[in-house]
């Protein structure tokens, strides 16, 4: 199962810092659709970036079961 690490305000919205993704999520694009459907509160976090295996990833980037995916919102506190 693909592991999703959730950072910052996104983890507050999702109520978790770690979730397992269903196997049909096989691209960053599908991940974004999945998140919109299951976590509508993320909508206001319009700037979420996705990293796959510790590298920034575009929507077209494939995701497989052994990948480590991270969801990174901007953070502004100081």
């Amino acid at each position: 199962m693909t592991k999703l690490l959730v950072f910052g305000a996104a983890s507050e919205v999702m109520g978790a810092r770690n979730i397992s993704l269903p196997p049909e999520i096989d691209s960053v694009k599908k991940l974004r659709v999945f998140l919109q459907q299951h976590y509508p509160g993320l909508k206001r976090l319009n700037s979420l970036m996705v990293a796959v295996n510790r590298e920034y990833a575009e929507d077209a980037c494939p995701i497989s079961g052994s990948d480590e995916v991270a969801l990174i919102p901007p953070v502004s506190g100081g």
Binding site: L5, F7, G8, A9, E12, R44, L45, N46, S47, M49, A51, R54, E55, Y56, A70, I72, P73, P74, V75, S76, G77, G78
Partner: protein, 244 residues
């Protein structure tokens, strides 16, 4: 004292460097203290806020009796006592479209210790226009982010976060709170990255976003790439504060 790989030439580079710290809040505390202690040449500070009692849990340079005083002068009084050899330059203002290019223009390196998203994009755009590297750092609750931006063509803040977020998306420390020590950790890393850039030691965190999680002690180092379009900024936006 001799440190392998940090000889006279590196110390000289440090003592010649001109560094601007944006903000004198939580992130800036270790940046100011350690760059002063290590003997940076010129240390500019831009800040126009006053010390509040609610700052003191994370802004360790200030004392209870400083409450109500301008942060800028409270900080400079302490830093000049710490090391009178550092040239401390006060800029009693907030960074704005009107002053950013002129102020940043006279420094070699900028450290972004601000506490709001508007200033972060302004620091970015001004530094890109002027060709200055800057050290990004930010905190949220128990987490921090860090990156060395615009360093020899490396990714900028707009490469890390191309889509400017709305206000609700990025709460600051005063809204959601932060453990006092967290900006201490991230600010210490910012000071270390500044030293690496100034002295040419180690590998600065360029083209990388470092995410640190205080609760687990773990970190994630994420590779990113510069988007050439983001290196072509020719003018500042009319305002960076529509988000607030």
């Amino acid at each position: 004292m001799q440190l392998t790989g940090f000889g006279r030439e590196k110390q000289e580079a440090l003592s010649q460097a001109r560094v601007l710290v944006v903000g004198a809040g939580g992130l800036s505390m270790p940046v100011l203290q350690y760059l002063t202690a290590m003997g940076v040449g010129t240390l500019g500070i831009i800040e126009n806020d006053r010390v509040a009692l609610s700052n003191l849990h994370r802004q360790v340079l200030y004392e209870t009796r400083d409450a109500g005083k301008p942060k800028l002068y409270a900080a400079i009084a302490k830093l000049s006592a710490q090391n009178p050899d550092v040239e401390l330059v006060p800029h009693a203002a907030f960074l704005r479209v009107e002053n950013a290019l002129e102020i940043i223009g006279s420094y070699d390196l900028v450290i972004d210790g601000c506490d709001n998203i508007g200033t972060r994009y302004l620091v970015n755009d001004a530094c890109v226009m002027l060709g200055k590297p800057f050290i990004y750092g930010a905190v949220f609750q128990y987490e921090g982010q860090l990156s060395v931006c615009n360093f020899r063509g490396s990714a900028t803040y707009r490469c890390l976060f191309p889509q400017v977020p709305g206000n609700a998306a990025v709460p600051g420390c005063n809204e959601t709170g932060v453990l006092g020590i967290l900006p201490g950790i991230i600010g210490s890393y910012q000071a270390a990255e500044a030293l690496k850039v100034i002295c040419g030691i180690g590998s600065p965190l360029a083209n990388q976003l470092l995410c640190i999680d205080m609760l687990t002690g773990g970190q994630l180092q994420i590779r990113c790439r510069p988007d050439p379009a983001n290196l072509q900024i020719r003018e500042l936006a009319a305002s960076y504060w529509q988000y607030f």
